[in-house]
């Protein structure tokens, strides 16, 4: 350790420092995308009301994927919803996080044997936090958000990096089960 003089920080250190500061802001003002895919979405309004007050944590609903940080996948995901979900996920601005709420996102839940519902969400998009329970209680959902914040703090919530790193794997899975993501229907040919 040749000199104890204050040494200039290298570029990576500066970026890492900035990233930590950015993480502080990102975890204290998580904006969730108001995209309620399944039945677990009914848990979110109570989270915003005075009993649990999601705003305390700095979380609030935002209308469009561009503005939101957290994508809440609440409940079962049919093929059609999954296609729209993937398109929305790709529209979100980086760094973005996904919270899978409800057992349907974990292992297909009660619809595990249906022809229309997928069984495991993280095959298709990277999921940071799962909240188990067939309709988990609001506390559990809030707990999930707190876990997400802890993950961000410990720099482990890098699902979006995984999506970039092994994109082909995700894409292959998506093509396998969905056929094609961007479909044409009779109204938008």
């Amino acid at each position: 350790m040749e000199s104890t003089k204050f040494s200039l920080l290298t570029k990576e250190e500066v970026d890492r420092k900035w990233w930590e500061i950015g993480d502080f802001f990102r975890r204290n003002s998580l904006w969730m995308l108001m995209y309620c895919t399944g039945c677990c979405a009914i848990e979110l309004p109570p989270a915003m009301t005075s009993a649990y007050d999601m705003e305390r944590l700095g979380m609030g609903p935002m209308a469009t994927p561009r503005q939101a940080d957290v994508l809440l996948v609440t409940g079962y995901l049919s093929l059609k919803t999954l296609r729209r979900l993937i398109y929305t996920y790709e529209q979100m601005s980086e760094p973005k996080y996904v919270v899978g709420i409800g057992s349907c996102t974990i292992n297909g839940g009660i619809y595990h044997d249906s022809h229309a519902v997928i069984n495991q969400l993280d095959q298709y998009i990277p999921v940071d936090v799962y909240v188990a329970g067939c309709m988990p209680n609001t506390e559990a959902v809030m707990n999930g958000f707190v876990d997400l914040m802890r993950l961000i703090k410990s720099k482990k919530a890098n699902g979006w990096k995984k999506y970039h790193k092994n994109n082909e794997w995700y894409k292959k899975n998506q093509i396998d089960s969905l056929g094609e993501v961007r479909v044409k229907d009779e109204f938008h040919d």
Partner: protein, 195 residues
């Protein structure tokens, strides 16, 4: 004009005109007739003239062991509030039934749905073959009895594999002990003991 007179009115109206295979009063406001396949059109036109102007639902039931589909038309009358079910049986091999588009234009989407989920053809409705709900479906119509959704799900969607081992928390006493202590404390507090 209570419902009984309506039911009687309808059954008398239909019975003396058509050979009803089976008649069943489902509930206070609902009656169902099973009729031969080629009389369905005339019956529906008659009912429509009598005031049953709304086609509430059109669906099919798959009797796989009789090797038949059963089509159910439910029509509704606003003045005399009675739902009339018209049921017919059609064969399961290349099932087809003439469309009732001219009588009830509303049937356009029902027929597309029945075709998509059961594979029944409806000549006379130009769009019956178009895709309605399932996007890019490549298997046999899913609601047929001989379709196994579980097999489809296993084939297409990866399942989460759970290892069967039970993990006992190595040095942590199982939670059961903690639960009993908590129960006692609650009883004690209820009796007014110290917290």
């Amino acid at each position: 004009m209570n419902s009984m007179t309506n039911i009687k009115y309808v059954s008398s109206l239909v019975e003396n005109r058509f050979k009803v295979i089976k008649k069943e009063i489902v509930s206070e406001y609902q009656i169902s007739f099973e009729v031969d396949k080629d009389e369905v059109h005339r019956l529906l036109t008659l009912l429509k003239l009598e005031g049953w102007i709304q086609l509430s639902y059109l669906s099919a039931i798959d009797w796989i062991n009789d090797n038949e589909y059963e089509l159910v038309y439910i029509v509704m009358n606003w003045e005399k509030p009675v739902h009339v079910q018209i049921r017919t049986r059609i064969s399961r091999e290349n099932p087809s039934m003439d469309s009732i588009l001219p009588i009830f234009p509303g049937c356009k989407y029902y027929e597309r749905e029945v075709h998509e989920f059961f594979g029944v053809k409806f000549p006379g409705n130009p769009e019956y073959a178009k895709q309605l709900i399932l996007e890019g479906w490549d298997d046999i119509p899913p609601l047929r009895k001989d379709f196994d959704p579980r097999a489809y799900s296993d084939a297409h969607f990866a399942k989460r594999e759970y290892t069967e081992t039970f993990v006992n928390l190595n040095n942590e006493k199982s939670k059961q002990v903690k639960r009993e202590k908590r129960k006692e404390r609650i009883i004690r507090v209820r009796k007014g003991g110290k917290k």
